[in-house]
């Protein structure tokens, strides 16, 4: 399967404060790719690099098969973008924004735009600057979808929105993907939201990619284990140890949070003279937190 976005050894720095180093990222074509990370982790910066708004120091970015930023004009004709903050002219009405945008995209779908105006219950004659936060988000999504691009890049599109608006937006996205087979790259720190829609997920923190995997694999593979009698050092485990702590109340038991877990791996512990008393499923949010904690303690991506 080819990648809609392919990043290799990307290096970017702004001043001494923040750096993205050795970033490798692959967004499969046709996937809904969730990009998770806490605030300030570099999600928006990575998105801007993907869209050619920032120039990397080194590395390679390929979007829809073309190099970025060299072919930015051609690529952006097939990419719909929804930024974190509204970026449209507040003095134009919704209809005027639609007309403006339509002039730049040869694949513009006028019928889809009208349909979305009705579906989102937008007033076409209302000035963009006078819309509510949710309505603005809907307009930006509308414009991105009506472009009929092969890639949608959404930077925290539902942040700060009420659940009804969030559901409307996500539903429109899913409809779009199912109709067109487009790729969606969506960044957020709202884990539960991504858990419902994404089939790939990557986690970023402090400019580094911690992990990148299919959603199910990440969810199913992240477990909390209650381990008894484990040795201090373990060698070449088949899973990834994210955190390891003594249980509350003392004793020889430990709480391990592991990634890439598969059934049958309990036999490893038997091999090292330990036993697994319990295997607890973690949801994506718990796994996300444990991943971050592990990374910040000095863990590395495998």
């Amino acid at each position: 399967m080819s990648d809609a976005i392919h990043i290799e050894r990307l290096h970017y720095r702004v001043g001494k404060a923040f750096e993205i180093k050795e970033l490798d990222l692959h967004v499969p074509t046709g996937s809904i790719y969730g990009f998770l990370g806490p605030n300030g982790s570099g999600k928006t910066t990575t998105i801007r690099l993907i869209l050619g708004l920032l120039r990397p120091l080194s590395g390679r970015i390929t979007v829809l098969g073309d190099p970025m930023p060299e072919q930015h004009a051609r690529i952006l004709g097939r990419v719909g973008y929804v930024p974190e903050q509204p970026h449209l002219d507040a003095t134009l009405t919704v209809r005027e924004l639609i007309a403006f945008q339509a002039a730049f995209y040869p694949r513009w779908d006028r019928a889809r735009a009208e349909e979305l105006v009705a579906r989102f219950e937008l007033d076409g004659d209302q000035l963009f600057g006078r819309l509510s936060k949710g309505q603005k988000a809907k307009v930006m999504i509308l414009l991105a979808l009506a472009q009929c691009g092969d890639l949608l890049v959404l930077d925290e599109p539902t942040d700060g929105l009420d659940p009804v608006v969030r559901r409307d937006i996500l539903s429109a996205l899913i409809t779009y993907v199912s109709e067109r087979g487009a790729t969606i790259f969506i960044s957020s720190h709202l884990v539960h939201e991504l858990e419902r829609v994404c089939d790939w997920v990557a986690v970023m923190d402090d400019g580094r990619l911690i992990t990148e995997a299919p959603m199910e694999k990440l969810k199913q593979g992240t477990k909390r284990l209650v381990v008894m009698g484990a040795p201090a050092e373990i060698v070449n485990p088949p899973f990834r140890v994210l955190t390891r702590e003594r249980t509350n109340g003392g004793g020889a038991g430990e709480n391990w949070v592991v990634g890439d877990w598969e059934p049958g791996m309990t036999s490893y512990f038997e091999g090292v003279g330990a036993s697994v008393r319990d295997v607890i499923d973690l949801d994506l949010e718990d796994g996300f937190v444990e991943l971050l904690r592990s990374f910040r303690k000095g863990g590395t991506r495998r």
């Binding site: 004009a73 970026h87 003095t91 134009l92 007309a99």
Partner: protein, 221 residues
Amino acid sequence: MIAMFRAVLYSQWKWSRLIVVLGTVAAFAIPLLSLQGAARADRGALQTQDLLRAVQSWGTLYPLLATALGLLMAMAAWAADHRGRHIHALTLPLARWRYVLLRFGAGFVLLAAPIAAVLIGSSLAVLTATLPPGLQAYPIALAVRFAFAVFVAYAVFFAVSAGTARTAGIILGVIAAAVFVQVVASIANLDVNLFAAAQTVLLLGPGPLAVFTGRWMLVDV
């Protein structure tokens, strides 16, 4: 590209319509006001000098109007982009220079209105005026000169507005350096006059501001 230009033109018109309308009204009115003394029947030989003085006084408004139009239109062309940090423009599927060219061209199209207003106003003023013998009217020359002044002003301010904060910093730095050098030279009693030299380069001969200088006379000998 035509559809893109129309879209850009429409958005720019929306931002700057008040400027264009007011500028057009002013451009239409100035020639008429400058010749109001001649609109009556000939008052005799005393009228000529009064008329020329009035025309010369009102004529000082043309370069001011041209500068104001150029500045305000350039600011209006970029204001929305500056507010949105240029993100919308930079994510459009066309090269940056094409986008800038669309904005530049849209401004020229909108500035045609006040230029036409100068031509129409001055032609109307001349038709309704009784000019003393020996005086001639130059409505076309005046309108052409006004057009050049507007275009130069617009281009200068447009280029400044299109620059990044770094560019603006460089320009301000150069000016600050010139001021510093001038101050140091004055303290050291050196015969250095950078501002006079700059004035000469800018205002005289084929300098960028040469079109603004001199007398702007709708009617002259």
